[in-house]
Amino acid sequence: MKKIRCALIGSGNIGTDLIYKIQRSPVLEPVWMVGIDPTSEGLARARDMGLKTTAEGVDGLLPHVLDDNIQIAFDATSAYVHAENSRKLNELGVMMIDLTPAAIGPLCVPPVNLRQHADKVEMNVNMISCAGQATIPIVNAVAQVQSVGYAEIIASLSSKSVGPGTRANLDEFTYTTSNAIEKVGGARKGKALAIINPAEPPMIMRNTIYCLTDEKPDQSKIIESVLKMIGEVQKYVPGYKLVNGPVFDEVPQGHRVAVFMEVAGLGDYLPTYAGNLDIMTAAACRTAEMFAEEILAGKIQLKAVEAA
């Protein structure tokens, strides 16, 4: 079967893990890995895995985009350079999946709103953050049942799974995730907290989701909606698991619904504790696959974005 050819930008944890995910996809094929350091371990690994590589950044990729028929690119660099990367590739008709907190395109959580982004043929979609991918489906599952005035999520990540980019830019992570809890999750106000835990052996990614519902929660409907949503996420992240809850409490702030999740990864690049890495790359891969399926079926056509 024909596959859509992809480029990966950024050869850190996320970019490397993406190679594994894309190689397994029935509709995607990883072709290029873009880095900035010729001696980097990530580029060497990509070469070993059969990808073409450049250490010249996105500019090193541009001359090959048309010849190699690259149609989808994944950007796992940083919020600061993403906009420029996206502009250059969009001009060549390449659709961009943004795994940085830049969020210049619409925010995407596959089981919540991927369908509508594909229908609109968005040329840039943003994957928010690992914490966003792990928690927003649950916020949305509650918000589908009744209105949520406030949602707060706490992501616990093992120290070994958090790369230098995320560490140095925690504020961007916080802002992007909080905003997406509102825009995609459906809460009127969102707040995101991140904790990096150095325990050995590393702790598996944990996420807690608190929602305050406006009215007294309809417990059985919320439980049903949450379990259904977990099933949807498990389609692309099998290790997405409910540990405790939903549990309902009356607190001074109102009616609280609490859900305690765990995310085990597939152990592709980092071991299974790094569910945070997996849920991000798996969501990005799922997103690319939906676009790829539509392109291959002739339902949508990517169009070059005219330079402004």
Binding site: Y150, L170, D171, T174, L193, N197, A199, V243, N244
Partner: protein, 349 residues
Amino acid sequence: MSENSLKGRKVILHDMCLRDGMHAKREQISVEQMVKVATALDGAGVPYIQVTHGAGMGGNSLQHGFALASNEEYIGAVAAAVKQTRISVLLIPGLGTMRELQAAYEAGARSVHVATHCTEADTSPQHIAYCRKLGMDTTGFLMMAHLNDAKGIAAQGKLMESYGAQTVYVTDSAGYMLPEDVKARVKALRDVLKPETEIGFHGHHNMGMGIANSIAAIEAGASRIDGSVAGLGAGAGNTPLEVFLAVCDRMGIETGVDLFKLMDVAEEVIVPMMDHMVRVDRDSLTLGFAGVYSTFLLHAKRAAERFGVPARDVLVELGRKKMIGGQEDMIIDTAMTMAKQRGLLKDVA
């Protein structure tokens, strides 16, 4: 000999009643109470007081509780009331952001503890740099310092110094450390940091070691000590500041703070505010003994009550799972899992 060895040493005292004390009050200290406490501490000559939600800027949350007023309201009211005292805030990256630092500065804060877990200093460069840009007295605050060895603490402190921290703290959040542990870490920092970079120690009294540990820190080169009057703070409380001051006075350590006035603040202002006597008891001693984050105490008691599992069992399990500050949600989660194992709770599906 040790009595006189510290004679003449100058040490800066930093009171935590209006920040760490918020934990012991479930964040329910009013603006009026804050102004009263701050005015009293200012009158006694305390040079720095920390004023925020117990979890710092950005702390208002379901995870950490909601205070009676915003951090900006507290800081603004206190800053307007004090004459000589400088107001500091706590900021934990991942919880508070640079927007909140800016707001704290505008409200009147001039000093900051930028806090990370003792192995995660590299989550603080943005925030430390931003505080320096604002011109704030900037501390890098290494929490749960017993979970990293002296060499590790020195390396983490060096990172914070490289981001711009003017002081690096060894923070015994669990009240677990013994004087030799404190000395080793402070000394290791002193060996690697620039001579002008100060070292601080923040103790908790869960094992009754707050004062002894603070003295040990000074002996090893620390020049800033956190405590709170009457110990109002998380767990068995912070190093009780008036008691520590009495020891300093006897040893000839110079602080510029008036002992009798500070005793009066403890007796007349702080103790009457307490919801429970902040002291070493079964649960707070468990924190110190097991090396658990002091703030977990009241959360564990609530979760224990809700799910019918003893608080001490929950705390020991949290220690075993190596949960760190900020993971208060895992207290409820752990209590629920334990309740299921004991047949007290069922899964929803």
